[in-house]
Symmetry: C2
Amino acid sequence: MTEETAARRVRVERLSGFIERAFTAVGMPAEDARTVASLMAEADALGSEGHGVFRLPQYVKRIRAGGVNLRPDIRIERERAGMALLDGDNAMGHLVMHRAAGLATRKAAEAGVAWVGAHGSNHAGPASLYARIPLRHGMIGLYVAVGNANHLPPWGGTELLLSTNPIAIAVPAASRPPLVLDMATTVAAYGKVKTRAQRGETMPEGWMIDRQGRPLTDPRRADEGFLLPIGGYKGYGLGLMFGILAGILNGAAFGRDTIDFNADLVSATNTGQFVVAIDIGAFIDPDAFKRQIDIVWDTMKSSPLLPGFEEIRLPGERTHHIEQDNRAQGVPIHPALDRSLADLAADLAIEPL
Amino acid sequence: MTEETAARRVRVERLSGFIERAFTAVGMPAEDARTVASLMAEADALGSEGHGVFRLPQYVKRIRAGGVNLRPDIRIERERAGMALLDGDNAMGHLVMHRAAGLATRKAAEAGVAWVGAHGSNHAGPASLYARIPLRHGMIGLYVAVGNANHLPPWGGTELLLSTNPIAIAVPAASRPPLVLDMATTVAAYGKVKTRAQRGETMPEGWMIDRQGRPLTDPRRADEGFLLPIGGYKGYGLGLMFGILAGILNGAAFGRDTIDFNADLVSATNTGQFVVAIDIGAFIDPDAFKRQIDIVWDTMKSSPLLPGFEEIRLPGERTHHIEQDNRAQGVPIHPALDRSLADLAADLAIEPL
């Protein structure tokens, strides 16, 4: 029996309840604990295994060290018709981005398009969570973040000055699943490196190189090298620009100011992220738009295959199937993660998962 | 003497004047001819050699065939505080996007952020031209387009359903050049393939593959294969989503509806593009922001190098140097292009370049 098949399946609600208990135990107000837990469990339901409950022990560590504000005053600092800037007041990033996405959605209903950024935020989980909030209101959602630790240098350099700065774009369909792109601007997200390390697995060549430019495939040696951007200098440029839009424009950290939230548990990370909501009806009849997205699905899926491929996938398709399976069968909790969550439960004296 | 060193240098104003004469000769109103010529010559000044005067013979061919509306009524079809949708009325794409970028800039001055899309547009040259218009007003500019011919299949397929859908993002600095990213979501833009073909040069592996998945390096055989997206399925996903935002959302062509504007000179292309302008002052003190961008320049440029690299470049840095050189010394006109422009001048009975 491999480690993978040994993963037990835990219902999403149960997972969410466990996360909520953990946060409540370290002093988070009940409503906030529920919001964060629900978003983290959703991340696991969506198969973002590096960004859901996997992060809980580290979040708890940071909260206990005083690195997160549990009584934040998340407030609108600046606002115009097409934008707002939030001060996250060093709250859990999930709370700040949940607020940002909700505000962007409400503002877009008036202005057609609304862009809501934040500083003083923190790690908020997978990008797609917040692109999916406008989606639930029939809108297009877009999310960009500055990552919470620098894992790559500028193209041609060796100093870790950039993060994996991800983008998510979510687009509704009529009768097909929504299209949801969620990608780091690196070949692999750092969360994937961490889960490989926890499981004792190796990485394929192309994910990371060492400081001499040689392939690095042992995830436990990740500190000795850096992630590679997609398309070489293009992914570097895209990640850099996303970092400027999500970081500097919002008055948030970027470059050398980025706090490695794993290494430093106390300093405020001043994380920057933004959400854009687009009210489809401002541009085009929403039903006609959604039918066009169905046609995109059908056209792509039925088009001929390149030798060696079994199917053409659409962005979010794999996630959609994983989500259906995880919501029906439960989220797979890998044994190594299960042990660390059991330790956490004992430590916090809460009912285990 | 190589072909490259044989390129003669032509002053930007002279180039612009020639383009203007050509458009006037085929019936374009004087002011429109001046606007399009100025944008095309700017593309050449910026070193976008596949997107400037190189395209003139083909544009003229399309105009003569009746494929472009020379008396367009470019108008705002829908508008809210944070957005507008233009009907380009099948005008030259440069005119539609010039209008879109100007409108986005004016609207962003009020709303903070403004997103202006268009349908009924046409090929408009390099993406960075329109991201640079908000930039001239101290704003951040962002531009995305659906390309004007499909050059790649969905990831794992062989049917050409997608274009190179590019993105440009332009960000002002204080005392350094602006950061300007301009990239196709493919490893190489199709314009680069065309210029290689015209010059009889080969392409590096990784730009294109044939229908069996084998590397394709002869640009004259480009019809037998397709471009590769950056980062494999990631670039495919990004290009697909950009195409939906710039195409379907605007009521413009996408996928099988895309008209190959080189093969079909008559059908309206119904090209879609959008420009986003961001008024920096809505978020943060603009001077403080620009100083931060200077710091980005200095931090990246002075950081240590990976073995085998001579320098770290910032997005737009190479373009900045090329532009300075081209504005001082003139734009290099490659002999093959020079001959085709001489033929065009003779054909149109206008003063040659």
